[in-house]
Symmetry: C2
Subunit: 245 residues, 2 copies
């Protein structure tokens, strides 16, 4: 009998053109569908909670798939290791009701973004942080980040080229903290528009470097005009941390 | 006037066939020689303190080179960023007397080796640790590691295929510690035979898993026979941490 399985998946996105299947480019979804089809012994489709961009990572992407296989669900993470490449790992497998859909059932998501500050970049982190020569002001960015918390029209932080739809989202919490040479941003929200986290980070850094005042940051959000916000931070610092149901 | 410059270099070894120049395989030495030649404006040779193997990393490899360039030495790390790939970084540049040779002047070296223990591997660490499903005993390995400290004939831990020479080295200090899912070994020694650190780790793990007693570990060292020791740990967990002059 066919049953619905929810998988929590971590991946290093450096080698992939994002999560979602594309023509002529290797994506995480394609690898999961092809390799898990071999594990389960039949063709299958996976639905992912989030469409991470090329080079973006995940600690806790969630997918679901339907299978008629008799492999015990708790054995799937270990069994999948034999089929998947080393940069994609199934962390947890759970049986879910047949109506569960990884994307539509998601209540909120948490993203983190990492920056490394130092005159000399760390060669081990080139795919995993955004490198900055200088250190932006944490207190200034923390003050600005408070402005985005709550329900807002985030059109100012919506990238061109994403799917259409209502630009209103709720940010439940967001913060930034420093640990040595690292700065980590965390954003917990009901959902995120295309490039929204990367545009948050790019614009918050303008505040951190004193090129944008708090008042101006407020105006950017209220102005709902993408041209007022800062640049899009590069993908390699971004991680989908968790999907909450 | 030609002067001698010492560079401290970090690299992610994942993409390279080791440090030393080879026919038909990309090495760190070749990249350094080709790219720094462009920076300095003339062909040059670099001498490295250690010949790290394919896939082995360095936080503090040391090289020296002779140049007639007028680039101020303190500017070299930043200037080199424009020429070197992101996985090789010059951290420090210093003027040294013309007789200084990175390899022959080295008094001792420190290597570290990292293991990650967990049923599910971490996709971000596949090039940077040796993954183990189980956790070996730290106290047992710490006891065994004490046996290698001091001056010994390390023939039992010398890999086949390396350069010939006297197999006696002094280990000044060595330890192993656990931090969460990570185990880190550190070895500080006068010098290291071919594959010596990786053979230490492979054999220490036999002790950690209870397949070799302390007494047997002692016998392995005293026996000076490579066939008695454990397997060679894979390269991706190994880091040249520091070269001491």
């Amino acid at each position: 009998m066919e049953h619905n399985i929810k998988l929590t998946v971590a991946y290093d996105g450096a080698a992939y053109h994002g999560f979602q299947r594309q023509q002529n480019a290797m994506t995480v979804q394609q690898v999961l569908e092809e390799k898990l089809a071999k594990l389960f012994g039949h063709p299958l489709k996976v639905s992912g909670a989030a469409r991470t961009d090329a080079g973006v990572h995940a600690y806790g992407q969630v997918i679901n798939l339907y299978t008629s296989s008799a492999i015990p669900t708790e054995n799937i993470p270990m069994a999948a290791r034999g089929y998947l490449p080393d940069d994609i790992v199934v962390k947890v497998a759970e049986d879910v009701p047949s109506g569960f859909h990884a994307r539509f059932a998601a209540k909120s998501k948490i993203y983190i973004y990492r920056i490394y500050c130092g005159k000399i970049p760390d060669p081990f982190l080139r795919h995993y942080v955004w490198h900055h020569n200088n250190s932006p002001s944490i207190p200034d960015m923390a003050a600005a980040i408070g402005i985005i918390i709550g329900e807002h029209d985030f059109s100012a932080f919506r990238g061109a080229g994403g799917p259409p739809g209502i630009p209103i989202r709720t940010i439940y919490n967001a913060d930034c903290r420093q640990s040595g040479r690292f700065i980590e941003f965390e954003f917990w929200g009901s959902g995120f528009l295309y490039h929204m986290v990367r545009n948050f980070v790019g614009t918050l850094l303008e505040v951190g470097y004193g090129r944008l005042t708090l008042e101006e940051f407020n105006t950017v959000l209220a102005g709902r005009d993408r041209k007022l916000a800062g640049r899009t931070a590069p993908p390699q610092g971004l991680y989908l941390k968790e999907v909450i149901y």
